[in-house]
């Protein structure tokens, strides 16, 4: 639709512009999640005993499996990136879709987890711990979902047509960030009891 | 120390409001110290600013100079004023630490206590009854009226039943936010008899602007007479009536709201 913008092609810093933009997005997300996690930590310190009791009811085994899905999917996205460097469309798309698949497992297990907890009576309003738990993990899950959608678009709209290979690395960066947030959430919500 | 300094200070705040508490003078003196230091710098800089505008206005044939601001002398022209300003900052920080400590951190042992409960939209004040002790059966509660004895050291305990409010008595120079779920304590010592405003200083809803109260400072005899005339009560009905009246004032002209 739009003609090529000269500005988009320039790179005075040497860093490709798209990557710079993704780092900016990641930066703003770090501050958002950072704020949420800091608030959670403060509350944990102030309400030690009662929150600890509530935290005891999170399903650690599901959290652990979900950690495995995300970490493995981060590895897959690295493979997708190196395939994209070789301009191998088939390999790239395969690894992207496998990443999406594992993301899907994450979301699937999470859905089962939420359903189980709700049926046991632990909802968003049960107590402040559970309010935090659902808000933090829910926001994170939303970011996982968005990542999956964007990856699908890149795979089918760009890589299949052999263009915009740099986007694989960029979405990979985003996916690693989503992973790292989980690596903070998992011990806080599932292990610290 | 503050009494001593006050002799040299213009007393700007006292021109507007009496100093009805013992520590009001500290805040007033600090205010004046800041006014003098800041006022000096402000008028100096503003004056220089106007001078430059006048001196370097464009006239036919007049040309500008090429000044980078990066020579040593030019940098000093900025750095030296800044060191002086830093010195002034410290001259303000030290007394402000003292004033803050005296008013907000150090609570002297009280001769009497009051309990203040704020809510949408009225104040309930619990005074110690004839026995002089707060929290006993003969406590007297009044709505929107705080009655204090002159020259008595009070500790107050401030609560809120619903949202954030803030207890403010301008003539005491006192202010403290009331946080629901907490009891916050502080102190004051009235030194002047009279009757003045108590205001709510934190937005608390529709009738925030109408939940004023009055503080009445009287002699011990007058206070005891007031205590004797009032029966101990829970202030229940008075409170309801006070809030309803406040709300009716608020609702008066909702037509075009």
């Amino acid at each position: 639709m739009a003609h090529e913008i000269i500005a988009t092609g320039r790179s005075r810093t040497g860093i490709p512009t798209g990557r710079l933009a993704v780092w900016w997005v990641i930066g703003s997300e770090i501050v958002i999640f950072g704020g949420l996690i800091a608030v959670y930590l403060l509350n944990r310190f102030n309400h030690g005993p009662s929150w600890s009791v509530e935290a005891g009811h999170t399903a650690t085994w599901i959290g652990a499996i979900n950690t495995f899905w995300l970490l493995t999917s981060s590895y897959f996205v690295v493979l997708a990136h190196s395939a994209s460097e070789r301009r191998d469309a088939k390999e790239t798309r395969k690894w992207i879709w496998l990443t999406i698949l594992l993301g899907g497992f994450f979301m699937g297990f999470k859905t089962f987890e939420y359903a189980t907890e709700i049926s046991k009576g632990y909802t968003l309003f049960t107590s402040n711990f559970w309010s935090f738990y659902y808000t933090a993990t829910g926001l994170h899950g939303f970011h996982v979902l968005c990542g999956m959608v964007i990856m699908a678009i890149i795979a089918e709209n760009d890589i299949k047509k052999g263009r915009n290979w740099h986007r694989v690395e960029n979405i990979g960066l985003y996916w690693h960030f989503v992973d790292i947030v989980w690596i903070f959430l998992f011990p806080l919500m599932y292990i610290a009891k | 120390m503050f009494d001593f300094l006050d002799r040299f200070m213009p007393g700007f705040l006292e021109m507007l409001l009496p100093r009805a508490s013992e520590y009001a003078i500290e805040i007033d003196v600090l205010f004046d110290v800041i006014t003098i230091l800041v006022g000096f710098w402000f008028f100096l800089v503003l004056g220089y600013f106007f001078y430059l505008i006048f001196r370097y206005r464009h006239r036919p044939g007049q040309k500008a100079e090429y000044v980078t601001g990066e020579t040593h002398k030019q940098k000093q022209a900025i750095e030296i004023p800044h060191l002086l300003i830093l010195a002034c900052d410290i001259a303000i920080i030290v007394p402000t630490f003292v004033v803050w400590y005296n008013i907000k951190i150090d609570i002297p042992p009280p001769e009497e206590e009051v309990r203040i409960v704020s809510q949408q939209w009225a104040w309930t004040f619990y005074h110690a009854g004839q026995d002089g002790v707060l929290g006993t059966d003969d406590d007297v509660a009044s709505v929107n009226e705080l009655r204090l004895k002159k020259n008595v050291q009070y500790t107050y305990h401030l609560e809120s039943k619903d949202v954030m409010h803030s207890f403010s008595i301008p003539v005491f120079r006192l202010k403290q936010d009331a946080v629901p779920g907490r009891v916050i304590s502080g102190h004051f010592k009235p030194i002047m008899e009279g009757e003045w405003d108590v205001q709510c200083a934190e937005m608390c809803g529709v009738a925030h602007g109408i939940m004023g109260a009055r503080v009445i400072i009287e002699s011990e005899e007058e206070h005891n007479a007031w205590l004797a005339a009032k029966t101990p009560e829970q202030a229940g009905d008075n409170l309801v009536a006070a809030i309803e009246e406040t709300l009716s004032v608020a609702k008066e002209d909702r037509n075009n709201g």
Partner: protein
């Protein structure tokens, strides 16, 4: 089409641009200049709404209970809603869009010598989200229960529960509008940072970047780093409002003061987010019309970075008496008083730029000078408030209000006027009328002081904020105090009347202003190299190249007293 070899040139497909409809050219454009105008006109429209609100509530304060022309009688609930939304609109829907999004979008690609922002479609999306946020806010005024009235700071529990605030729809809509606005600016920031870092003209080193561009970049970084916790808090508050969670409800284990921390951790850096671009504007204008190099460019730059960093450590000065640990105030009062130093450095640099100059008093320069003088007063009055001892007395009084209007009006009103008078010729190819400009200037600045000087005095006399009728308080109801309120209100009315001069001047000049060439002010920066107004792509076939800094005015030995950045050095 014949293939013609071009060097660093855009437009593979010229034919795209002949048949652009009104919609694609003006409404759905991805051109940074159009998007800049969209932000500017939206911001100006919101300023009219915010100013109207101020007129209404000040009329109530001056003549309590009377029927206000163009409103009627004002109820206490509506009063609260007007003061809340006046503040919210002016900060989020006037200051930020005009200073950062409008000026940034219009100027940055021109000033760094490229043809557009790096991500034009994200740019367009950011405006669209911004527009939606404005619409959501306006809708919030008309829902049952009325607009949110819990102050722009929105402290819970008041803001969290409809049983306390009586605005069950207005409160969440207000919060959603603010959150959407924040998202729009986070998106916009992507373009500002990446474009300035990567798309600069050949030869433009970091210290050749005009100061306003730097200021917008630093402001964007500051915004991004500070707004995260507020977004988290806004999600939590929205859940409290709509789903019944209890993040901030003390009855169920939450903490109302937590919101205050999340809000002010953003709220304080936010004032510097809007201050820095305003100072950048004044910097450009001061240099051009004093015909002088900026005094201490690197000093100004490093001070603004230092200011940004320090601004993260002062936030609790808004909360000295709000129930935080009283010992924390020692730290915050110290940092707050110290932050006056980098701000002072920047103001002194602008004043020092006048030294040795040859000052032309165009309307833009008059507004630029007024910024410096008025902001000086605003900044110094912060000292009384940053000192925790005096803040016990002055918190929540009109002293605070006068302080922040002496900083915010220069930021949100005076600097944008300066910018518009200065860049109007570049934007539209015509000059605004200078005589009417000067009338507008005096008619704005003199009444502005008439509004707020009395408010300092009233505040020092114990008058508190957000109170709709001071006649209810015997100590505040005296004739002297009421006279001051009337004087302030009448000054506001006069000031608002004079804005009509500006609006008429603006509209008439669009069609009938004197036509100008590329560089009517004889300035150095790259936007004056492009035609007035610049076409799509800005610079035509040859992108500019930079050979020197942006402020080489009055260089010794040269005939002209200016030296554009892109002028090739003479062959020796």
């Amino acid at each position: 089409m014949a293939e013609v070899a071009h060097a660093d040139v855009a437009h593979d497909d010229h034919h795209d641009h002949h048949e652009q409809s009104f919609w694609s050219k003006y409404v759905f454009s991805t051109d940074h200049k159009i998007i800049g105008f969209q932000y500017m006109f939206t911001g100006m429209a919101m300023a009219l709404i915010g100013g109207y609100f101020a007129y209404v509530f000040r009329m109530q304060l001056a003549f309590p209970g009377s029927s206000i022309p163009f409103w009627g009688t004002l109820s206490p609930a509506a009063y609260n809603s007007l003061v809340t939304n006046h503040g919210t609109i002016m900060i989020f829907w006037v200051a930020m869009p005009v200073l950062i999004a409008a000026m940034g979008n219009f100027l940055i690609p021109l000033m760094i010598g490229c043809d557009d922002m790096v991500f034009p479609r994200i740019n367009r999306l950011s405006y669209q989200i911004f527009l939606i946020s404005a619409i959501v806010l306006i809708i919030s005024f008309f829902v049952p229960g009325g607009g949110f009235g819990g102050a722009w700071t929105s402290y819970p529990p008041l803001s969290a529960k409809a049983e306390y605030n009586s605005t069950p729809f207005g409160a969440p809509l207000w919060l959603i509008a603010v959150t959407l606005e924040i998202v729009a600016f986070l998106l916009g920031g992507i373009n500002f940072i990446t474009t300035v870092m990567n798309a600069r003209a050949k030869g433009m080193k970091l210290y050749d970047i005009p100061i306003i561009v730097w200021m917008i970049v630093i402001a964007s970084i500051l915004f991004m780093c500070s707004v995260g916790p507020l977004v988290a808090g806004a999600v939590m508050l929205l859940f409290d409002q709509t789903l019944g969670t209890a993040f901030f409800d003390p009855v169920a284990g939450g903490d109302p003061v937590l919101w205050q921390h999340l809000f002010w951790f953003f709220g304080h850096p936010e004032v510097y987010v809007v201050l820095l671009p305003a100072m950048g504007i004044v910097g450009e204008i001061t240099c051009t019309f004093a015909r002088k190099k900026l005094f201490g460019y690197k000093l100004v730059l490093y001070s603004s970075v230092g200011l940004g960093i320090l601004s993260f450590f002062v936030w609790a000065h808004h909360q000295f008496i709000s129930g935080v640990d009283p010992r924390a105030t020692y730290l915050f009062t110290t940092t707050t008083l110290l932050i006056s130093i980098p701000v002072a450095i920047m103001i002194f640099a602008f004043i020092a730029t006048l030294y040795g100059g040859s000052i032309r008093f165009t309307t833009a320069m008059l507004f630029g000078l007024a910024f410096t003088g008025e902001f000086l007063l605003g900044g110094v009055t912060g000292i009384w408030l940053g000192s925790s001892g005096t803040d016990i007395y002055l918190h929540d009084t009109y002293f605070v209000l006068a302080h922040f209007h002496y900083t915010f009006v220069p930021i949100a009103i005076i600097a944008p006027f300066a910018a518009i008078y200065y860049w109007f010729p570049k934007m539209f190819g015509r000059m605004m009328n200078e005589t009417w400009g000067k009338i507008h200037f005096w008619g704005t600045i003199i009444p502005f002081n008439g509004i707020f000087i009395p408010l300092f005095i009233l505040g020092a006399g114990g008058q508190h904020r957000r109170i709709y009728n001071f006649q209810n308080y015997p100590d505040l109801a005296g004739v002297d105090m009421q006279d001051m309120r009337v004087f302030a209100t009448l000054s506001l009315v006069v000031m608002l009347m004079f804005q009509i001069v500006f609006i008429v001047n603006f509209i008439v000049s669009l069609k009938r202003g004197k036509k100008v060439g590329k560089n009517p002010w004889k300035a150095n920066t790259l936007e004056w190299v492009a035609p007035s107004p610049p076409p799509h792509g800005n610079f035509g076939d040859t992108m500019p190249e930079v050979y020197r800094g942006p402020y080489e005015y009055s260089v010794e030995g040269r005939e002209e007293d200016y030296w554009p950045q892109n002028e090739k050095p003479a062959e020796s």
